[in-house]
Amino acid sequence: MSDRETWRRRPTRRLRALLERGRRLVRRRFGRRYRSNGNIRLGGAIVCLLAIVAVVGPMLSPYDPTAQALERRLAGPSLAHPLGTDALGRDVATRLVYGARISLALAVGATLVRLVVGTAIGLLAATGSRLVDAALMRLVDVQLAFPGLVLALVIAGTLGPSVRNVVIALSAVGWASYARVVRSSVLAVKDRPFVESARLCGTPRRRIVTRHLLPNVASPVLVLATLNLGTVVLAAAGLSFLGLGAQPPTAEWGTMIADGRNYLRSAPWLITAPGVAIAVTVIGFNVLGDGLRDVLDPDHVDDADRRRT
């Protein structure tokens, strides 16, 4: 009540104070440490570049990624086709750019599902009763009992090959590691005095979760997710390579390698280009993830300066 009154009375002052405070917080939390980390800069640059290519690239390319042009099939790299053409005469560079869209969208989609499901399950396990914990962790064990790609293969295979089903299949197998990371991080902070202090002043459980636990597990989850984006790109490419992902004539990197393998000797660029594209994407995510880990890992924050004694 009085809260609202004050707000009305001095709106600008409070707003300005709030903004200033926010700015300070942002600067303090995402300040030099991030910008000065070489890994974050390199990985971030690669990922940003890829994102730009995926969004803008298709508009710039003069070719259709799927239209066949048999008269210029298997042409080597040239000015018109910097990365050559494939067996159906399609421009490899154009297909690569379209492929970036699928790969990135797929990676982000599957990772998001994994993250949300895994975090929810991990939180529930760590904060719920022992029974809930035991049951959920059994579930995690079961998921981890399957070699991920094998299970994804079966799911994608039974649901029928398509990009959507690849997302479903890869979401169904990757969430368990998030659940484990979240659970163990929550357990690590759950009995810290600051959480007990919150309990002591009567903070309800849900608010303890959102106010103290989630912010403190955000770092490992963020790092895991970044590294995971790379893994998903690899797995999705693998599924497509096996014929269980994107279907021809869709331009997808894994499919492109599968198509190109028959011309290994005569047109090696057909597998080189998409292979390099996949590797660079995954390197980008990995480097960014490593950088985030360096910066976010609380053990490394003050240590270097406070080594003495």
Partner: protein, 317 residues
């Protein structure tokens, strides 16, 4: 100790039971009538009602799901995983036929990975932030980031097509094994290198390493006797988990090198909707994975005397 072992076996059985249920459920609950789909794909034309009915009866599709699951599970426990829809061969004998090739590949790849990764990780950590370390780091980064099927083709391109030193595909001899093992081992080696390095860096900072140095122990022994054994404890877990990674990779690598193995068997079966084979392969790989991880836990006890009790993870109070 015995109680801990019992507890462990109990949870193992529970996990495997659920795994089998999931395996069976996934395949059985596919959209559409499997009999119809399979028959149509088999003969490239819509099957007659009678054919469908006959197929359903033959493979027990008319029973309710739960009944089918338990009869399948009962058979599976006795080693009978059903019969392939197409090859009319028992799934078990197909598995027995294909398993050795995959096992061979997995072991060879693990060996390649360990031989490369552990020394590389140790050397990187000991020469922290020198060119050796940086080169190793970059190599490891590229290693984890390369799709293994692509690496496989690159190796084929160079070693088989250009140099002609190894056969392109097939299985049986040692020369057939070299390229697939390298292909599969690279990713694993990269992961293990990174892990050994981080773990070693952490351990080298430990007070007991300083204490060992203060005793006058030679630096080489400080590294290999005092630090490495401690650093290997977390590595062993990951190697166990990496075995799952190897099984994943084996699928793809077997397709690339056209090696007959569980992977090629599985992929072919998925496309053919030969569900008994799919179920069999998934069950066997999951079982192998779970058992490996239990073995890893035992290795843990040997490496780290602090872990004596078997099961109860005491991280929750």
């Amino acid at each position: 100790m015995i109680r801990a072992l019992l507890a462990r076996l109990g949870s193992l059985a529970a996990v495997m039971a659920t795994v089998s249920f999931v395996t069976f459920g996934f395949v059985s609950l596919t959209p559409g009538d499997p009999a119809h789909t399979i028959l149509r794909e088999q003969r490239q034309s819509p099957p007659s009602e009678r054919e469908v009915a006959a197929f359903r009866a033959e493979h027990g599709f008319d029973e309710p799901f739960v009944v089918r699951y338990f009869s399948w599970l009962g058979d599976a426990v006795r080693g009978d995983l059903g019969t392939s829809y197409y090859q009319s061969e028992p799934v078990t004998s197909l598995l027995v036929e294909h398993l050795p090739n995959t096992l061979e590949l997995a072991l060879a790849a693990t060996a390649v990975a360990l031989v490369v990764a552990v020394p590389l990780g140790v050397v990187s950590a000991v020469h922290h932030e020198t060119w050796i370390d940086r080169t190793g780091q970059i190599a490891a980064l590229v290693g984890v980031s390369m799709p293994n099927f692509w690496l496989g083709y690159l190796l084929i391109l160079v070693c088989s097509l250009r140099l002609g030193v190894t056969p392109v595909s097939g299985a049986g001899t040692l020369s057939h094994l070299v390229l697939p093992a390298i292909t599969l081992g690279t990713g694993m080696a990269a992961v293990i290198t990174r892990l050994v390095r981080t773990s070693m860096l952490e351990v080298l900072e430990a007070e007991y390493v300083t204490a060992a140095r203060s005793k006058g122990v030679r630096e080489r022994l400080v590294v290999y006797k005092h630090a490495l054994r401690n650093a290997l404890v977390p590595v062993v877990t990951i190697v166990g988990l990496q075995f799952g990674f190897v099984l994943n990779g084996a699928v793809v690598v077997e397709v690339v090198f056209q090696r007959p193995g569980l992977g090629t068997l599985l992929v072919d079966a998925i496309f053919a909707r030969d569900y008994p084979i799919v179920q069999g392969v998934v069950l066997v790989t999951a079982f192998a994975f779970v058992v490996t991880n239990q073995l890893v836990d035992l290795a843990y006890v040997a490496l780290d005397p602090r872990i004596e009790r078997g099961g109860g993870g005491d991280d929750r109070r």
